[in-house]
């Protein structure tokens, strides 16, 4: 099922996404990511349970990435699932984002 949640881990925030991220709720994803960036030095977006993501979902990630860069914060994608990786590659964004395997790399 679709879902987005945010949890704090010693100064960092982990946004967990699940389900099919598409136009119907990508604004909610966007807001959650931007909110997380306000309170944490590092934000990770956990994507292992995402089975589909469209360009509006990717756009939310891009916006988070750019906001973090402007503010000097760390922004990483955690455990991107194969469908997410496929779309990132198609959009040639796989080398723009920092991709890590799990949340332990969030602060590194």
């Amino acid at each position: 099922m679709n879902g987005v949640s945010c949890e704090s881990l010693d100064g960092a925030a982990l946004v967990r996404l699940a389900g099919e991220v598409d136009l119907s709720w990508s604004q909610e994803v966007r807001r959650t990511i931007l909110d997380a960036l306000r309170g944490a030095a590092a934000v990770g977006v956990e994507l292992s349970a995402v089975s589909y993501i469209d360009s509006s979902g990717i756009a939310a990630l891009v916006e988070g990435f750019q906001t973090a860069r402007v503010q000097g914060r760390r922004f990483v994608l955690v455990g991107a699932s194969p469908p997410v990786r496929a779309v990132l590659e198609l959009a040639r964004l796989d080398r723009v984002f920092v991709l890590v395997e799990d949340a332990s790399g969030l602060c590194g």
Binding site: D22, S56, I58, A59, Q66, A86, L90, R92
Partner: protein, 565 residues
């Protein structure tokens, strides 16, 4: 090393101990087993057996699988019997093989089994004979014979026992050598067949994909097929075509096929009328083909500009002209090529008229379905059933069906047909509200249909993404939040997949749709980039009737039509 204790035994009264016999047997077996030149080793073995058994003469007879009977292959002693031929059952040797049992002749002068001809011719005096068959799992392959003990005594049961022991390794070695020879022969044959098959494949013309109107398919159940086809361009713009079938199978047929194919091509290049074309090839073939083989062929020309076809057949099954559901049979008027010189061949002239010409080497009209002929109506139904699909999958589908009916296992088809746009097949039609909440079910339906037609998962997911992006754009930009509907249609046309999204929103100016540069990293405008990256092309058109837009996305998936290539 401890030797086995020597045990005297009544079974070996011929002057040797059991240990001596076993040592000799071991020696002999080893010599035969490691032999690289079996003939020479056997010759040595027969000499040693004669010495060991203290006999005046010894000989080895083998069954001759080609001539039948037994032939003396090796001989030791004062009389050379090499090459002597005996019938199985004839004489002592023939009887040993026929009965697969050792024969002991104590007194040759009175024994009715003995053939005294050799003695009479040579002056040799045969007193006593011992002969044992060379046994294998599949029966005897010959016999080993010894004559006259040097001590003048007749052969006894103990001698028979020893000879039987000595014959065993010889039989084994000869049998192994024969099997090895057969294996080598089989491998040689397989190599020859393989070469012939590759030669034949090389003779078939390359498939032409540039909208060329001829297509040939050869399906062979055998390693070597006698079928062939050919097509070539003439200087005057016409296209020549040939399909043929050589009688018989195997290497001889393959060689005749290569010759016939070259001759037919050579004669067809001159642009002769088809009947004259066949006549000329027939004369050539009759001069050189005398072994009862012959060639059935159909040759013709097609003029693309006018649609005119002329063809002639030589013993070939009727060609079928299929047009708008009707089938016309075009039978051959001449006999097969290569039988009688001086034959005339009649032909057919007709207008292809947008139809299709089928030539089947196996004569589908003649073939039987169970007890009933498939017949012209059966063929018509068969062709009609597959008429809607592209030429190559159609030919393959026809062959699959003919095979299923057990009508052919080896056939060649040649199809003459102008390429045409085949009716697209609609795979999916889905109407849904222009609401982002409905996209999920649209994607699921799309995934299902793409799975059903065998699109591999990576491409499937990309296609789903691209169509989803297109629909999201319609929702966001065309309707811009206003309510409305989207009609999605997915079609397959030969190897092309087409996705169409129709809306009833105000017309969108296609010039406004411009994908951004992918190297630029910003959140918006990504959807069109993804569509561009996935699809071969897409276009936005005003809907017929002036209200709404139609977005067409296309992707070529060649595997859809050429699964078997």
């Amino acid at each position: 090393m401890n030797m086995a204790p020597v045990r005297q035994s009544g079974a070996f009264p011929a002057g040797g101990t059991e240990a001596r016999t076993l040592a000799f047997l071991a020696d002999l077996s080893e010599a035969l087993a490691v032999s690289l030149d079996l003939r020479q080793t056997l010759a040595g073995a027969v000499t040693r057996i004669a010495d060991y058994m203290q006999v005046e003469a010894a000989s080895l007879f083998l069954l001759d699988p080609e001539r039948g009977g037994l032939e003396c292959r090796l001989c030791v002693g004062p009389v050379d019997l090499t090459g002597l031929h005996l019938a199985v059952g004839q004489g002592v040797v023939g009887r040993a093989v026929a009965e697969n049992a050792t024969q002991i002749v104590v007194d040759a002068e009175t024994d009715p089994r003995v053939n005294r001809r050799v003695d009479a011719e040579t002056g040799f005096v045969t007193r006593s004979i011992l002969c044992t068959p060379l046994g294998t799992a599949h029966g005897p392959i010959g016999a080993l014979e010894v004559i006259n003990r040097r001590d003048g005594q007749p052969f006894a049961a103990g001698d028979a026992e020893i000879l039987r022991l000595l014959a065993a390794p010889a039989a084994l070695a000869i049998n192994n050598a024969r099997m090895a020879r057969e294996l080598i022969e089989q491998q040689r044959l397989r190599r020859e067949f393989d070469l012939a098959r590759r030669l034949q494949k090389a003779l078939l013309p390359k498939r032409r994909r540039d909208g060329f109107p001829l297509l040939g398919v050869n399906v062979s159940a055998h390693e070597i097929s006698g079928d062939f086809y050919d097509y070539f361009d003439l200087a005057d713009g016409r296209i020549g075509f040939v399909i043929g079938d050589v009688s018989g199978k195997g290497l001889d047929a393959a060689l005749l096929m290569t010759r016939a194919a070259s001759l037919l091509r050579w004669a067809g290049r001159d642009g002769l009328a088809p009947a004259e074309w066949l006549r000329r090839v027939n004369e050539e073939l009759c001069q050189t083909t005398h072994d009862g083989r012959f060639v059935c062929a159909l040759v013709g020309y097609y003029a693309r500009a006018t649609g005119h076809v002329c063809l002639a057949g030589a013993g070939f099954p009727p060609a079928l002209h299929y047009r708008g559901g009707d089938v016309t049979e075009l039978p051959a008027h001449g006999p097969p090529l290569g039988i009688v010189a001086g034959m005339e061949f009649g032909g057919h002239d007709f207008d292809l008229a947008g139809g299709s010409l089928y030539a089947f080497s196996d004569g589908v009209t003649d073939v039987r379905s169970g007890d009933s002929r498939l017949g012209a109506s059966g063929v018509r139904a068969l062709i009609a059933r597959h008429a809607g699909i592209a030429p190559e999958p159609r030919l393959r589908a026809l062959i699959v069906e003919l095979k299923r009916l057990a009508l052919v296992d080896d056939t060649t088809l040649l199809l003459l047909e102008e390429p045409r746009a085949h009716a697209a097949e609609e795979l999916l039609r889905l109407d849904f509200a222009a609401d982002a909440g409905r996209l999920r079910e649209m994607r699921a339906a799309l995934r299902d249909v793409l799975d059903r037609i065998g699109i591999e998962p990576v491409l499937r997911d990309q296609l789903v993404l691209a169509v989803d992006e297109a629909a999201a754009n319609v929702i966001r930009h065309a309707y811009a939040g206003a309510p409305g509907d989207i009609a999605l249609a997915v079609r397959r046309d030969a190897g092309m997949l087409e996705f169409e999204l129709a809306d009833t929103a105000p017309c969108v100016d296609p010039a406004r749709l411009k994908p951004r540069d992918l190297d630029e990293c910003r959140p918006g405008g990504l959807g069109l980039c993804l569509i561009d990256a996935v699809m071969d092309d897409w276009r936005l058109l005003p809907a017929p009737g002036g209200c709404g837009n139609v977005l067409r996305l296309r992707k070529r998936c060649p595997r859809l039509t050429e699964e078997e290539e």
